[in-house]
C-alpha cells in the first residue's frame, strides 16, 4: 500500500545535512513539485516545532513531520528522505534522525491507512535497519513494497 505513495520520485537519499529545517525542506521537494502541499505547510511545521518542540520525532532515528490539513495541504501525500549521516532534531531521546517521512493529510481520515502501514513498518526493527543503511532508493523501495 505504501508503494502507491513512496516511489522513485518521493523517496530520496542524502549523505549529510546541517540542520533539521534543511532536512524537512529537502524531504518536501517532491510534494511541493507535484502540488500536494504549499510552502505554508512547512512554515506551519516549523512554527509548531518552535512552540512545542520536535513533536513529530516518533522513535529513535525516525521523524514524521506533519501539520494540519488547513495549513497548506492540497491532497494526500507522503515522501521519505534518508539522511545517511543522521541529523539532529533536538529530540531528547531519539536523535540523530535518519528517516524523515513528510506526511500531508487533506482531512482527518483519508491518511489513516497510510499511518497504519507506516506504524507497521516503523515497528519492524529489521526492515528499518535496512532503510537506515540503504545506499540506493531501490533498496528502500524494496522494503516499502511489503507494507
Amino acid at each position: 500500500m505504501l508503494s502507491k505513495w513512496l516511489t522513485a520520485e518521493t523517496v530520496n537519499i542524502v549523505n549529510a545535512i546541517d540542520n533539521w529545517q534543511t532536512a524537512i525542506d529537502i524531504s518536501a521537494i517532491p510534494l511541493l513539485q507535484n502540488g500536494v502541499i504549499s510552502s505554508d505547510y512547512l512554515q506551519a511545521i516549523y512554527h509548531l516545532h518552535e512552540n512545542i518542540g520536535p513533536y513529530y520525532v516518533l522513535a529513535p532515528g525516525i521523524a514524521m513531520p506533519h501539520a494540519r490539513p488547513e495549513e497548506g495541504v492540497n491532497s494526500l501525500g507522503l515522501s521519505l528522505l534518508l539522511v545517511q549521516q543522521g541529523v539532529n532534531f533536538n529530540s531528547s531521546n531519539n536523535d540523530p534522525v535518519y528517516v524523515i517521512t513528510l506526511l500531508a493529510a487533506p482531512d482527518s481520515e483519508s491518511h489513516l491507512e497510510i499511518i497504519q502501514n507506516l506504524a507497521a513498518l516503523f515497528s519492524n526493527a529489521d526492515d528499518m535497519n535496512k532503510i537506515f543503511h540503504a545506499k540506493t532508493c531501490n533498496e528502500i523501495l524494496n522494503v516499502i513494497k511489503h507494507y
Partner: protein, 90 residues
C-alpha cells in the same frame, strides 16, 4: 476510564499511539475508552490518563499521576510495561 493519546496536532502520531494502546489493553485485559487529540485540546479534565512523547510532555500541563511519557511511540513493549505499571498502581 478514558485514555487520550496526544501529539502535536492530533492527526498522525497520536493515532499510531491510539492503535497500540488498544492492542495493549486487549492483551493485558483492561477496558478503557481510547481517543487521540492534539496538545492544545489535552486539558487535564479531558481524560483520566494521557499518553505522549517526552518531547511533548515538557510543553503539556498534565499532572504526573495522569501522564505516561513514552520515549518511542512505536515501541509497543515500552507502552505495555508502562500501562501495566499504571493499572497496578491505580
Amino acid at each position: 476510564m478514558k485514555i487520550m493519546a496526544v501529539c502535536g496536532n492530533g492527526l498522525g502520531s497520536s493515532f499510531m499511539v491510539e492503535m497500540n494502546i488498544k492492542k495493549v489493553l486487549q492483551k493485558i485485559n483492561q477496558q478503557a475508552e481510547v481517543t487521540h487529540s492534539d496538545l492544545a485540546s489535552a486539558m487535564p479534565d479531558a481524560a483520566d490518563l494521557f499518553i505522549m512523547t517526552t518531547d511533548l510532555a515538557d510543553s503539556a500541563s498534565i499532572p504526573s499521576d495522569k501522564l505516561i511519557v513514552l520515549n518511542s511511540i512505536i515501541d509497543i513493549d515500552e507502552l505495555e510495561a508502562k500501562l501495566t505499571d499504571y493499572f497496578n498502581t491505580h
